[in-house]
């Protein structure tokens, strides 16, 4: 089985391209939903332990909204969409016309709207990877949590870390110049699935 230490530059490039294609589709959906231009940065592929991952996303206590979808079928893993509070406010203003959003106590309908944004973006991302690799990837119903980013990130780290203390993140940043939005999409595949995805894309391991 593939080991994180065996990943070379070519593998990382392929993963970055996967992130690029997936996020490109997701950014288009986001741009349509929020009716604004959405830019994305070049995806980063990181092999991190979770302490470093939380630091990279604003420190462990930074309060964010996390939308989590489990992947199953040909690819097993977790996909997470992590959004900053500013983004939540912008999105709810556009979608529900609400000006005074308090992230500490989001209502049922606000949570549902946010969760649906995540769901649409994750689906766009996963569909494009599925088409590219000709793999059948299924997604669970989205689950949402408003909490400290460290606690939210510990979930994929624990669920996917049975073999290693470190996990592989394919991370995409979304930004809009018009509105203050900042969000991250994280794909955390199991090591088995990572091997399968690579082979399917014609990469030797």
């Amino acid at each position: 089985m593939l080991n994180l230490d065996q990943l070379n530059e070519i593998h990382i490039d392929v993963l970055r391209e996967i992130g690029n294609i997936g996020a490109g589709n997701a950014a288009t959906s986001l741009s349509q939903m929020l009716d604004t231009t959405v830019d994305m940065a070049v995806p980063t592929v990181r092999i991190l332990d979770i302490n470093d991952a939380a630091t990279a996303l604003g420190g462990p206590e930074n309060a964010v909204v996390g939308i989590l979808v489990k992947l199953y079928g040909d690819i097993e893993g977790i996909m997470m969409f992590i959004i900053e509070q500013d983004f939540v406010k912008t999105a709810l203003q556009v979608l529900l016309g609400e000006d005074m959003v308090q992230c500490e106590k989001l209502s049922e309908i606000e949570l549902s709207a946010i969760s649906e944004i995540g769901n649409i973006m994750i689906s766009a991302y996963i569909n494009s990877i599925g088409t590219l690799s000709q793999l059948n990837i299924k997604t669970s119903v989205p689950a949402v949590s408003v909490d400290m980013v460290g606690a939210i990130l510990s979930v994929p780290a624990i669920e996917m870390s049975s073999v290693s203390e470190r996990i592989i993140f394919i991370e995409d940043d979304f930004l809009s110049r018009k509105n203050q939005i900042s969000a991250n999409m994280l794909l955390v595949p199991s090591m088995d699935s990572l091997s399968k995805l690579m082979l399917q894309l014609g990469i030797d391991l």
Partner: protein, 162 residues
Amino acid sequence: MSSMVTIGISDMKIVKSADFLVTYALGSCVGICLYDSMTKVGGLGHIMLPYFPVSSQKQENVHRFANTCIPSMVNEMERMGCSRARLKAKIAGGAKMFEVSGDSTFGNIGARNVLAVKETLRNFRIPILAEDTGLNYGRTLYFYVETGTMVVKSFSNGVKTF
């Protein structure tokens, strides 16, 4: 002068009196505070998983697992002059951060972590004086060794003192 000592994930530290310990954003992980009120020595461990994998061929970090982190804390505290019989525990964490509908087993690791911590503490006959575990939110834990006070801070559920 008291100083703050930060404990990362899969980490453990023991300090003496004036210092206080902090570990950030416990999700399904569990923070374990142990202290001896006589010698004023206290420790904080941040575990991620319940049991050390027996079959593992790799060099595993013992502080990542409940059933190996606690023995390591007890040993080090004894080396610093604590008596095992005087040790007391306070614990926090073990939440279920996400509820994935149609998948009831997902995220149960928090509850299993809490069970493993309690079982290990019971084996050492260390009483648990306070706990703030389970539910669905993350916690930052501060432990003041001088008084044995555990303070738990969360994003949407305020601050609690134990």
